[in-house]
Symmetry: C2
Subunit: 771 residues, 2 copies
């Protein structure tokens, strides 16, 4: 393999059948339009081969709605003298899989020992073009140590992974214009979809005398394969370049014609040309996104890998897409968008790709009607966002999301109807984007309406306690999902209060800029801004205890059984049993699934002093199972915030390596939940940049409060602050700053109690202990 | 057996080991001070032999607190020629157990075939004296067809049934003053307890030459037995009269001395004398309580048996006792008092024993402080009554009342903390008593304070919905316990509203009569009468749908799965599995445990018209599992109320026969819940008298609206209305009335749209269709 710098390389040696699913996630490539799992060319349905499409969902037979996986266009299996050279059939003597995260190219090299001692080396690489989003390009080569008959079967494999499928019907496989073509429509909404693929080989230049080629169709599965057979010569390398295009009715009027055209154009550019333009795109991505950790190679690779995972799924091209909880790694969690996006991914994009951040936020604005439908379904006003959101914003989450392992029965869970903080998270995301970028346009184009609708939802959801003379938020599930249907979850209440504030602010901006829009919103609502104001001013948010400093996670949390985590684990009867739900082990104890109070301390860090943060960190961390991949990064950040970065470091590492090690929960009940973890990926960035480097931008000034782990000498990164770029190196004793020469205005930065204003092209250093 | 009229006799032939527990309930005797299970003389702990004491509770080793069973004083086992004549050891050739419900005497006759063909007839009878509440008297006789050596072992058996015991310590067994005596103290509160027993036999008159007697003690179990041995002669009957007394520190300063004295006095009166005075008491009880059903012998016996069950456990002698859910039949349900008393038993006592009704109501007033402690524990004001109440009113109900049959783990249930209607039921009971009797004294002696505290509790529990501008009662469990933690349970809200009304009325009465007491209550409360008035006026009570007439049991009940009951039963995996709780089968469906809406329609019958009642009966009945013994009677009553008594008849019969057939649930999870069912017993009376005979007294006028089942020609009973007695015969076409000559004032009665006033000693007939 011709591979890049080891700093950017993820590799794995040897073939292990048990790692097939995990490696599919770990070695995934993608471009925001589609994700292509890190499977071998010869893999098919059983090995979870999938090209998962962003934003295209389908439902069949009343089963869960989920993303559609396209027929896989880069299928290939090689035979030598009639013997299959698939790792599934023939134990390889060498096998290496690698991912070049600098340019998002997947590599594979496998050496097979065939009958009679012949050694065959199969190499491949592939990428989802960052320049041409519909295109996947691949190169496959084979070298044999002996002469013999080589057969290469390539084409489009309709037998792809489906959890609740099959999702395609009217499948047609054909050969058109020198390409293979599979067309189909989705079953629920009849959205057309086409996959085209063509091949060119190094043999073409040499003449094709010895070559036979045959094309076979399987109309039922939507597969079409060509078989190329020829007499290979010892020591010679045969290379096949493959060009595929995937189009759907969401992006093209005639997906079949478009796929054929894109395929032809890609072949015209050629593999090397496609790769070059792809690499150029990735160079630009990394120029903005990269974070350099000086002094810690392990953390460096893990963090870059985390950013890679975010970059391959970022919907740069569409404001109707957001990022699902499992990215584009398959259909797990229904391909749905959760609160993860706003709370764990948005910060990375705000600081490095504000246009993508805008898309993520616009997705919520575009799905406002779905949120309104959900609120109305439950008898509330305004917008109750989907816990599991797909393209319309209607909730894909069911009331029975987990099966009880003891009885096999569906278990009533309250993710859908009680995790109301989702509407606050959506509003929070919009406001964060607005504050960060100053882009008032987003408020006028639906943002103000959206946050207003979220506030109205909460007003209709909340109750007034006449005795205590305060509003309360009852019967909710907070981030700690092991405790469902609690009252006055501190995190939720704080987020609701924030939403009310945001709505009032946004409505004032709307009032000033678009008075008619403002009037229409207020006229059509029984809930007026003064109601929102009243609720804001009198909403109960649990406060730190005056003696212990502890904030109770929800009403009566402290009365629950205070059992040590290891003891609770000792009560487990079935390793897949769900700890929450009706009779879950954790529900009657103080053991939490994930950061809840501590997340609040992070989000509202200015409202709590260090003593309070430390007390709550120390109380809640030992009681946290970290059963969610969203948990560890928050503990890392609050540890950094309280001046204990080395406490936070292991949590950072756990977050940053989650998709490298594959050490995350794979099952809840009998539900498979494997896949990539974009929220943890975003959390790794948050912990490194916002946590340890201590960088914060409030829309006017970037404040830097370094709190680096012991090993780290410095963190370097670029930031885009209201369109102005600066380069930052946060060291142990000083912060080095450099404003881009191309900036159009000055940038304010503060550190160590000093602040300065950077004119375009100017560098500066702020040192610890200076006056 | 010399037995009474068959109309008053419950009998069972043959011995069946599997019926031991059920027969212990069915053949129980008692006198309100104690209940003595229907066990054989030779039964002990394993056969659930128990003398359960009213109001004496004990807790050991953190297990559930439960009533204390006294050492059993009427233990006896006979040996003939060394062979044990216990039904447990020797299959009897004849065996009959019978209960004379007219005088509450237990009978037994067993014939054994001994070795060498001798036939032995053992007969016994026993009763808990209705005249001397501490006394149990028994007569045991044995006749043998052959000469031989007879040994009779009698005495006090300390090996009694205990669920969460043993409850006694410092046990001492002795012989004193010709009596056997066991003394002990309870373990938790060190309440002293004594059981004395003495015996006299027919042989005494004949001289005791051939008799040997020996007394043996077992100090550990608190047992003492005497063994009488003699040569019996063929055909001669030997009779032993036994006199026992049970005393505790709750009723006597020196229970040991008192028990000995009472025992001696009883022996002095002799068995026949004791029986005569006991029978006289029972004649007086029946004279007031009996209900004659003309035309339906089966219903007649079942109803009388139901009334019998109430009469043997009624706390006529103490206003600090109420009636536990399983009466005095053992320790099941912790011997605790539930809402059953007010809602299902109180009516019978109001109409037939107003002094006992007063005791039941006073029990709530005496346990007010316990209810205050419970409210405070949960952060509420006022009085939150115990779901399972014992002598102090502190809640014996745990948060984990049932074990999950699938995992064996304790299951969090919400009986204790969410079934808030209990405070409304307590207030309702007080007000019903006041309205019925006009006894203002009860309000001035704590009744007004109690209902005020209940109202204050609800004010602090409720929330105001600012959008809908109404108070709501959230997060409760209604009578249908399969649906925990629901919002706006119609029954609960209606009961809360009633409680607020009652509190306002009672406080006005208090204000007029005892202004200082009133002022003190109001001064000490942040919640003022005007707050209660506001909540009363603006409390949401779900109303009938304008089209269907249906009242939704709670918010969103109609969105639950509408599965037929038989289909739900088909989903059962374990016959003891609990249908409610965290993951219970019924919780996500519309299947209810028991009448909930329909109970509300009964309690507030004037607020709903017949069309509404019929629509809701028809909707909810097929969805009711009747998993509670409280359910069927309510369906019977509402059927009668809507002019369909024959629909109601099977529900009446199910209610009235529950303790005869033993066909009730015996297990919830792994929890034994067998025992007698006083609420169903009371429900049988309610269905017959209030339902079918249609009798209602509002404090001024008794209204009679007959709705008799087809078979019934008439219902006859006596009523005590504000101290005035009348005899009523409710026929199919007419109502016959007779006021007692001893009455001191007139009685107003209405039927068929006519009303009249009965002077003392006057009879009258109201006929259907008359003007």
């Amino acid at each position: 393999m011709k591979l890049v710098n080891q700093d950017w390389l993820i590799r794995e040696n040897g073939f292990d059948r048990n790692r097939i699913a995990a490696d599919g996630n770990k070695f995934m490539i993608g471009n925001g339009y589609m994700g292509c799992r890190g499977t071998m060319e010869e893999y098919t349905r059983g090995e979870l081969a999938a090209v998962t499409l962003a934003g295209l969902y389908d439902q069949v037979d009343g089963k869960w709605r989920e993303p559609v996986n396209a027929p896989h266009p880069l299928y290939a299996v090689i035979e030598f003298e009639g013997q299959s050279l698939s790792v599934l059939d023939c134990e390889p003597v060498e096998h290496e899989q690698a991912l070049d995260i600098r340019s998002a190219v997947h590599h594979r090299r496998t050496v097979f020992k065939a009958d009679r001692g012949a050694e065959l080396v199969v190499e491949s690489e592939r990428f989802c073009s960052a320049e041409r989003l519909n295109v996947i390009a691949g190169r496959l080569s084979v070298t044999c140590s002996a002469d013999g008959q080589l057969t290469i079967r390539t084409g489009i494999d309709g037998e792809v992974w489906d959890i609740n499928g099959p999702h395609l019907e009217k499948l047609e496989a054909a050969e058109r214009q020198n390409s293979l073509l599979v067309t189909a429509v989705t079953r629920e909404l009849q959205v057309p979809l086409a996959v085209a693929e063509r091949i060119s080989s190094s043999m073409e230049a040499e003449g094709r005398e010895a070559v036979t080629m045959e094309v076979r169709y399987d109309q039922q599965s939507g597969s079409v394969f060509r078989t190329i057979s020829f007499a290979c010569r010892a020591g010679k390398t045969y290379t096949f370049d493959r060009f595929a295009a995937v189009c759907t009715g969401l992006d093209e009027e005639e997906p079949g014609a478009a796929a054929l055209r894109l395929c032809r154009e890609a072949a015209g550019t050629g593999y090397t040309g496609l790769l070059a333009e792809h690499e150029a795109c990735w160079e630009r991505k990394w120029a903005l996104a990269d974070v350099v950790i000086e002094g810690d190679d392990e953390a460096q690779l893990a963090l870059r890998y985390s950013l890679y995972q975010l970059l391959i799924i970022a919907p740069e091209h569409s404001e109707k897409l957001s990022i699902p909880a499992r990215g584009l790694s398959g259909q797990v969690y229904k391909g749905a968008v959760f609160w993860d996006t706003e709370m764990f991914m948005l910060p990375f994009f705000l600081y490095t790709q504000p246009e993508t951040a805008r898309n993520l936020v616009m997705y919520r604005i575009h799905t406002l009607d779905g949120a309104r439908r959900k609120a109305a379904e439950y008898g509330y006003e305004g917008a109750f966002y989907a816990w599991e959101s797909q393209e319309t914003g209607d909730d894909a989450c069911t009331l029975f999301n987990v099966n009880d392992v003891f009885t096999g029965r569906p278990m009533r869970t309250y993710f859908r109807d009680k995790q109301v903080h989702i509407s606050a998270d959506a509003a929070y995301g919009i406001w964060e984007y607005y504050k960060f970028t100053g882009d008032e346009g987003i408020l006028l184009q639906g943002g103000a309406e959206t946050v207003w609708e979220c506030a109205r939802f909460f007003y209709s959801y909340a109750y007034y306690n006449p005795l205590k003379q305060r509003y309360e938020v009852l019967d909710v599930t907070g981030p700690d999902e092991y405790h469902e249907r609690v009252n006055n979850n501190a995190f939720t209440n704080a987020m609701v209060k924030r939403t009310l504030f945001i709505a009032l602010e946004a409505m004032e901006i709307l009032h000033a800029a678009c008075p008619e829009q403002y009037e229409a919103l207020v006229q059509n609502s029984a809930i007026k801004p003064e109601h929102i104001r009243d609720m804001h001013d009198r909403l109960y948010v649990p406060e730190p205890d005056s003696e212990t400093g502890l904030i109770e996670q929800f009403d009566r949390y402290f009365t629950l059984e205070d059992v040590p985590l290891h003891e609770l684990k000792g009560r487990v009867l079935n390793k897949h049993e769900y700890w929450g739900g009706g009779n879950g082990l954790a529900t009657t104890t103080q053991i939490l699934k994930q950061a809840d109070i501590v997340l609040m301390l992070h989000l509202f860090k200015d409202a709590y002093d260090t003593v309070i943060k430390k007390a709550n960190w120390a109380y809640y961390e030992p009681r946290t199972e970290h059963g969610s991949s969203l948990s560890a990064c928050i503990y890392a950040m609050v540890a950094a915030d309280t001046g204990s970065p080395d406490w936070g470091y292991p949590y950072f590492m756990r977050t940053a390596t989650i998709d490298l090690t594959g050490e995350s929960k794979q099952y809840v009940g009998d539900l498979y939940i494997g896949g990539t973890h974009p929220a943890a990926n975003g959390g790794a960035w948050m912990a490194a940049v916002q946590g340890f480097a201590g960088i914060r931008f409030d829309g006017e000034c970037a404040t830097i409060s370094p709190s680096l782990p012991e090993k780290w000498q410095a963190v370097q990164t670029r930031l885009i602050l209201r369109g102005q770029q600066i380069k930052v190196r946060v060291g142990r004793q000083q912060v080095e700053l450099e404003a881009d020469a191309g900036n159009t205005s000055e940038v304010r930065v503060a550190a160590y109690g000093q602040s300065l204003t950077l004119e375009p092209g100017v560098s500066a250093v702020l040192r610890m202990g200076q006056e």
